[in-house]
Subunit: 446 residues, 2 copies
């Protein structure tokens, strides 16, 4: 191939284990957007059992009684074995799609079974929607901060991710309005707004009902699709959250749901509920990508929903995560009063803000040395923001481990602060709450 810039060295010179990539010139342009997280290697270390991990988003699947899964399996293999083992429809098993309608009805959504597309986790729905809509350079509006692996997908299709600030009530409508106007003036092509409006990942905040209506109106007026990602909505603590954005707007919202948090992620089953025309393209994209989602996983879940007390099981999960959130809030108040943090009414995460001069990514190796891990705030921004933020997950460790993890974290943070006060006589330490985002664009803390 004379068109490649650099000739490939003779094959055979490059055994596995070298860092040279003889195929470097052959990759697509989009592949440059696929890079390993800077903290990935560290997380491998952080998975050692002696480390309290407040970093991951793993649900506490041990709270799921094995006999419920075993019961579902027995019925699947007895009654529907050949179907479970076979290829299926690219849209998903019809009975499961009917059951998904019942689940979404709990959040106010009325829809047709024809418009549900089962996917390999809602992550794959994110990938498929992005593949359908994003040309290189197209804008995706995303909350600041946003779910990290959604941004990995957007980057992998060369999207221009533009953050819109949020506060403790979620995305700020006025900031959204101004941001859209600015991008339109620049001639940018905005395709969709990506939002986790309920118990957001990572901020833990929930978009109010009034703001949901206002944001839907803004997007409608500007021909911008809303991609509503709702993995945590049923996992509320004190009172149910506002109904889904999809409950008031059918044509302008692609809604994503999943069984990963209310049942188990190991099955890799989620779904998209999409406007009619988009749904047809989603099915085609799903078939191209995987032929059909796993029949076995789908029938397992369908039988589980048929016969187990799945709402009771969600209540169990709610109680567990509620207790863990409370443990984390109490530990933060006791050990880290110099931080500010969000108080989530559901979901998995607390978003904490450290004094302004601390750098959560630089601090992470020291934290792991103290046997505690978290996710640095910069992971949740495409623009370098979040330097003094950390995401703390309360979903997986027990309350006593959470308490111990926060205690260890306080050792690290207090050590950092001691260093700063010893060696710096300049600016006083300030806390920077999430609400700073009201002043858009968000300040760049460098």
């Amino acid at each position: 191939m004379t068109t490649h810039g650099t000739p490939r060295p003779e094959s055979g010179q490059h055994g596995s284990g070298t860092n040279l990539d003889p195929w470097y010139d052959l990759y697509a342009d989009r592949t440059a957007g696929l890079s390993a997280s800077e903290v990935r290697a560290l997380f491998a270390v952080a998975s050692r059992p002696e480390v309290v991990s407040l970093a991951g988003g793993m649900p506490f699947v041990s709270a799921l009684p094995p006999e419920l899964i075993a019961g579902a399996f027995e019925r699947v293999i007895r009654d529907r074995g050949p179907q479970a083992l076979q290829y299926g429809s690219g849209q998903g098993v019809p009975e499961l799609r009917e059951q998904i309608l019942e689940i979404m009805a709990l959040e106010g959504i009325r829809a047709s079974v024809d418009d549900v597309v089962v996917t390999t986790g809602s992550q794959h729905a994110l990938e498929l929607v992005t593949k359908l809509f994003i040309n290189p350079g197209d804008v995706v509006l995303a909350e600041g901060p946003s779910y990290v692996t959604a941004m990995v997908v957007f980057n992998s299709f060369q999207a221009d991710i533009q953050h819109v600030p949020m506060d403790e009530h979620g995305l700020i409508p006025q900031a959204l309005r101004e941001h859209i106007a600015r991008l339109a003036a620049e001639g940018k092509n905005i395709k969709f707004l990506y939002t986790v409006p309920t118990f957001s990942n990572p901020a833990g905040v929930t978009l109010t009902w009034e703001r949901r209506l206002e944001i839907l109106e803004i997007c409608r007026a500007n021909d911008i699709l809303v991609l509503e990602d709702n993995p945590y909505g049923l996992l509320y603590f004190d009172s149910p959250p506002p109904q889904a954005m999809r409950s008031v707007e059918e044509d302008g919202v692609i809604y994503l749901g999943t069984f990963s948090k209310t049942l188990a992620p190991g099955f890799r089953v989620g779904w998209a509920l999409a406007p009619h025309a988009i749904r047809e393209k989603l099915i085609l994209a799903n078939e191209a990508a995987v032929l059909s989602p796993s029949s076995f996983s789908q029938l397992m879940i369908s039988e589980y929903l048929n016969t187990a007390d799945w709402k009771g099981q969600i209540n169990t999960f709610r109680g567990i995560y509620h207790e863990r959130r409370d443990a984390m809030l109490a530990a933060l108040a006791e050990y880290l009063p110099q931080l500010t943090w969000t108080v989530p009414n559901g979901g998995f995460y607390i978003w904490a803000t450290m004094p302004n001069h601390l750098d959560s990514k630089a601090m992470l190796p020291r934290a792991v040395k103290e046997l505690v891990a978290y996710t640095p705030g910069t992971a949740f921004y495409a623009d370098g923001n979040g330097r003094n933020n950390i995401r703390l997950s309360f979903c997986y460790p027990t309350p006593s481990f959470i308490r111990e993890g926060i205690r260890r974290l306080s050792t690290v943070i207090n050590g950092e602060l001691d260093l700063l006060t010893t060696f710096s006589q300049t600016s006083p330490l300030r806390t920077v709450p999430l609400q700073r985002g009201i002043a858009s664009p968000p300040p760049n803390i460098d």
Copy 2:
């Protein structure tokens, strides 16, 4: 959005059920390449039980004893429940990757467990590799005819699919050489050669050992990756096929394997074995797309491989498909001597060539009316070729249904031929065997 050509009509005017797509202007350019197969609607009709379907590629999973699956499940849920229900590694479960090495060793492949990436069926490996390598307009070389849903993937990333002719010994090296030279002269950017060298889908032919070496050499000399897709290699009938192309070339081949044909497609578990540098990017792409492949499916398969006589089970499948191939060959000889066809030594498919003036796509509705279905040859070409070809699958129906299906097909074909001889006095009927492809480019039969 002022940048969209057509303003979106007011939301609310478009309930589900209309054909209008208010989001038409928002799709990515690549989405134009995602179109429903022309015969898709017909196949929905063809799935009625009274139709003998020789169209699909569904393995005969009923030959898999349910107790083998149940045994695997019991061990998974007893010993590894929380792992099976949880997120896993983006590369796949290590034990399963070790077992995949044993399977690939049966076809002569020696590899490191580090270079295996588990995917959601090998279909998803095709999608991920294409995402990593294809810019719009890049050339994918593909056998003519080629696996239809591979071409759907290539099209969905805007590849330029260029067919290279094959004969009963597989892809023709000299044609490949000439085609590459011609494309290079045109300044085209060739990224990879896609091939199913063993018991190809749809042609049913197998690339000889000598040609494997020659094609690897041609691709090496031209910096073209080989994407070796091998779902059927272990399902041989009379004698083992030549070893995999990957067995002789490590650096220039991405090898794809799957459990869909040797175990069951309902788990959606396949894999890619990739050169070291590419493997790292594949894992990142896999994580972006699905976070991790299903832990539950992977552990089920791993336990099955651990404890069941999986080689014996493959022998069982071999015997079943062998008998069905023989039934189809006998029926073809008896009922359709005016056709030519390939004689596969394994896999699922026979590729038949009808007299020159017949059009397999136009004929399909009449076939379905006669209660038999097949896949028209044009589905397997990106360039309109294959008009008088049909793919006949012998994997799913029993021998007596295969015989009856071919008998019904002969009624349809003989009816067509009667019409032709009655109404046409012009050119005599000729058969056009697969070997016509030796004259490249393949003739366009319009």
